[in-house]
């Protein structure tokens, strides 16, 4: 069974004041297998953020279906979307979105507390997640005391502590420098090896080159896809760059 299945997805933004409407997504088809690591690339305004918001149940499609682990998002009622997010999805955002009122540990524990897990289990889980990410020394610190890279690793820990079906990442390296970008991508590789399904949206080809499959979105449709196969990251990066040049050239 597919972990994620998107069929004929369409999203039209209707401006409230005028009759002007913008078609962000025209017809998206997408399938992700369990354990896959997929990157979606596209220019600004190509609709990739809209797609991610719909997958994240933060936004509703105009038409088309989205199934996560067999469950149709259209059937999840508004009331249950929050619980659905908590149980099935994990998020990593560009600007980390850590709460400055919580310590690192409490930030990581947030989804578990919302699911009302037992305190003893929480503590076991937090150590289990923090150690491989190299943040177990930072647990008592506060977000403002951390570097950007450290903050993003905390955000990753918060996203995967619930063992989500799907980890969604929105420009996860967007606010990081090249060194910490490298470190974070290593973290993603590492958790993907432990069978975590990852779907990431980015416009950085370096970031995308770590994924096993790259999809290109343009004008609201998936226009191309690349498989990494047994290429190295460097080789895959070159392929991606060439593809992008070609895609851009078409426009001209």
């Amino acid at each position: 069974m597919n972990m994620l299945e998107v069929k004929h997805l369409k999203k039209i933004y209707q401006s409230r004041r005028s009759s002007l409407s913008i078609e962000a997504l025209s017809d998206i088809e997408l399938e992700v297998q369990p354990g896959e690591y997929v990157a979606i690339m596209g220019e600004s305004g190509s609709g990739k953020s809209t797609l991610l918001n719909i997958l994240a149940t933060l936004d509703q499609p105009t038409s088309g279906t989205v199934k996560i682990n067999g469950e149709d998002l259209g059937n999840v009622t508004e009331k249950n979307t929050a619980a659905f997010r908590r149980e099935h999805l994990g998020f990593v955002f560009q600007d980390f979105n850590l709460l400055d009122t919580f310590s690192v540990k409490d930030n990581i524990l947030l989804p578990l507390v919302l699911s009302q897990e037992k305190v003893s289990e929480m503590m076991v889980k937090v150590t289990a997640v923090a150690t491989p990410l190299g943040i177990s020394d930072l647990l008592e610190k506060y977000p403002y005391e951390l570097s950007g890279g450290q903050q993003q690793r905390v955000a990753v820990a918060r996203a995967i502590i619930t063992k989500p079906d799907l980890l969604l990442a929105d420009e996860p390296t967007g606010a990081l420098d090249s060194k910490t970008t490298g470190q974070l991508l290593d973290v993603f590789d590492q958790i993907n090896q432990q069978a975590q399904t990852i779907l990431m949206v980015t416009h950085s080809s370096v970031t995308a080159s770590h994924a096993k499959r790259v999809l290109f979105i343009k004008d609201g449709v998936v226009c191309h896809q690349l498989y990494k196969g047994d290429k190295t990251n460097q080789e895959f990066l070159e392929t991606i760059n060439q593809t992008m040049t070609v895609l851009l050239a078409k426009e001209g």
Partner: protein
């Protein structure tokens, strides 16, 4: 001149952030103006019990000043937080820090001029209007008329010159330590976690404890006014410390209990509240103190108003009270003539012969006459003979020469023995009622003593009040009381006037005195009405101040919480839950200050009671009733204000 222009422009362009600041500053000036005008109103001095009234209102005025200082610094810091980035931008664009200082100085000067003008005008108009309304209600003879006190206005101006200076210095300090690059980059550098200050927490509880202890144990707040004022200052200090440190310490303590803390609703509330307390402790503490002040003022003034009838009954059990020396035949005759002239039916007439009120004081376990030493515990004694006692009560006294019967007219005298000067008496019996004399709580203890016979009574007088200048106390007085049967106010007034004339012609012996209930009723209702009115102005001003702080709080918190709740929703918190958490936080913030105010009020109750006693109001049930009623009324108003401002908050926080 460029900087002046820039400053003026800043004020105009930033009106969204500046407008609330202006309003609050104008309001503070107006508030101080009104309180100063009320306190320094010449009518205050004419109030029965004026000294005590002036003391309460002066206390109120001082608290208003303290509040103004704290609150203006608070609003200024709120403004400063929003403007720091702007200062940084100017700095980057080429304005040196010296120019910035000058720009800020101009801004502060303009603000000062504007708020002073606006505030004084508002305050004067508000005061004038209120006094006009008062005149309308009470009638043309009102004691309280509007008058401008030059000294009062000067005080207001002086306070705000000082406040503006402090504001300028704070602004300059902010510019001095700013680093423009950092400012432009870090938009929202995370706030530090507040530390729990154990020392400050201890200070909070100690000063609250001592303040409360004094407030409860001081018997006569007017005598010990300095101490009492310190008690108030301690409670204010304690309240601020409690909100600033105590709350954080408590929340941190809760945070260390995993089984409590890691529950969804506690988790978010506790950690949010820690930050909230840090930012808003001063605001919340101010609300608590102002609320207390409102409640105390309202409780006192409304009790006085509602208790008028009570006070009248206590002070004047009968319509007419005439005291005259026993041998003062002329006065008696004059009164007889007036009564015959009017042919008014008189009911309940009684008379009693006794000494005057003899002023004595406790010295060890004896009572001695005042002249000998100075002491703080005065006692009034009124002596009468056993024969007179038997005549009035119809009971046999059967006293041997060393025995007396006592009656506690006011206060307590529990001893078995009564020693007056050198004479020792055994108290044979304590009685609990005596026709004509009604038990009442008055500030000075009063004891009626039934002496075995005239000889013993005269001995006591001679030994204790034997000096030449004490002749007054050696006289026996015949007190006659009666009610006037007619209800017709015209006849009553005419009768009273004639009585007064008749008595005033007879100055024989200097003892003749006439007390008429109707007269007292008239003057007291005017005064108490005026007093109630001043209390209401005061209360209204305080309520407005409270509303203003709540409004400020909601805005500043809403902006911060918006981001937090947004993240929480992304991480998987549903809409209803967000609403519930917001609601419970609002409720805590709503109830905390009012709960503290209620505790303050409870401890202030003995003060309220003893103060009202000085006005002659001793009905404890009535005082409790009005105090509770004012508290409930205030809570309702507070709740409405809170609901209105909570809407602003919801609008900011909700997506």
């Amino acid at each position: 001149m460029f900087l002046l222009k820039l400053a003026a422009q800043n004020l105009r362009k930033n009106n969204r952030t500046y407008l609330p600041f202006y309003f609050s500053m104008i309001f503070l000036v107006a508030l101080n103006t009104v309180t100063q005008l009320v306190v320094r109103n010449p009518g205050m001095k004419k109030l029965y019990g004026a000294d005590e009234a002036i003391i309460i209102f002066n206390l109120g005025a001082i608290i208003v000043i303290i509040f103004s200082i704290i609150f203006s610094i608070y609003t200024n810091s709120f403004l400063l937080k929003q403007r720091t980035k702007e200062f940084g931008l100017y700095n980057v664009l080429g304005l040196g820090k010296r120019e910035l200082y000058r720009m800020v100085a101009f801004e502060n000067l303009l603000t000062f001029a504007l708020t002073m003008l606006g505030g004084l005008l508002t305050g004067l108009v508000f005061a004038k209007l209120s006094f006009l309304i008062l005149r309308k209600i009470i009638g043309a003879t009102a004691t309280f008329t509007f008058s401008i006190s030059g000294l009062g206005l000067l005080i207001v101006i002086a306070i705000f010159v000082a406040i503006s200076l402090v504001q300028f210095l704070l602004n300059a300090w902010q510019i001095h330590r700013m680093n423009p690059v950092n400012l432009l980059h870090s938009n929202r550098s995370g706030e530090r976690v507040p530390k729990s200050h154990w020392l400050m927490t201890i200070v909070a509880f100690v000063s609250l404890g001592v303040g409360y202890y004094w407030a409860v144990t001081i018997n006569n707040p007017v005598e010990a006014i300095i101490l009492f004022f310190f008690a108030i200052l301690l409670v204010i200090l304690g309240t601020y410390a409690l909100f600033m440190a105590g709350s954080v310490t408590l929340l941190k303590f809760l945070k260390k209990r995993p089984n409590y803390y890691y529950k969804a609703n506690h988790f978010i509330s506790v950690s949010n509240m820690i930050y909230r307390m840090k930012q808003n402790a001063a605001g919340l503490a101010s609300i608590a103190i102002l609320s207390t002040m409102v409640l105390v003022t309202l409780a006192i003034t409304i009790s006085l108003y509602v208790g008028q009838q009570d006070m009248l009954r206590d002070r004047y059990p009968y319509d007419v009270t005439i005291s005259a020396a026993v041998d003062d035949k002329a006065t008696t005759k004059a009164i007889e003539q007036v009564r015959e002239k009017y042919d008014i039916e008189v009911t309940n007439q009684q008379n009693l012969v006794s000494t005057t009120d003899l002023p004595l004081i406790h010295e060890g376990n004896r009572l001695v006459s005042v002249n000998r030493t100075k002491s703080r515990r005065p006692v009034m004694l009124r002596l009468m003979t056993a024969a007179e006692y038997e005549r009035v009560t119809g009971r046999f006294a059967k006293l041997n020469p060393h025995q007396v019967i006592t009656y506690e007219l006011a206060g307590k005298y529990d001893d078995q023995v009564l020693t007056i000067g050198k004479q020792r008496f055994d108290i044979k019996q304590q009685i609990h009622s005596l026709p004509h004399f009604k038990q009442a709580l008055t500030p000075v203890d009063t004891l009626i003593v039934v002496m075995p016979n005239t000889t013993v009574l005269n001995q006591v007088l001679a030994q204790n009040f034997g000096r030449k200048q004490d002749a007054y106390y050696r006289q026996m007085v015949k007190t006659t009381v009666f009610n006037v049967a007619t209800k017709d106010p015209k006849v009553r007034t005419a009768f009273n006037e004639d009585l007064k004339q008749a008595v005033s012609k007879q100055t024989n012996g200097g003892l003749a005195r006439l007390d008429i209930k109707d007269d007292y009723k008239k003057s007291s209702s005017v005064l108490i009405g005026g007093f109630l009115f001043l209390g209401l102005i005061f209360g209204l001003a305080f309520i407005l101040a409270t509303a203003l702080i709540i409004y400020y709080k909601q805005i500043s918190e809403g902006l911060d919480d918006k981001i937090r709740f947004n993240i929480l929703q992304k991480v998987g918190m549903d809409h209803d839950f967000v609403k519930r958490v917001i609601h419970s936080q609002i409720l805590i913030v709503f109830f905390f200050p009012i709960a503290v105010a209620a505790v303050h009020l409870t401890f202030a109750f003995p003060f309220i009671k003893s103060l009202l006693l000085l006005f002659g109001l001793s009905n404890t049930a009535l005082i409790i009733g009005t105090t509770v009623a004012s508290a409930v009324g205030f809570m309702i108003i507070y709740f409405i204000v809170y609901q209105l401002t909570a809407k602003v908050y919801y609008r900011l926080v909700e997506r």
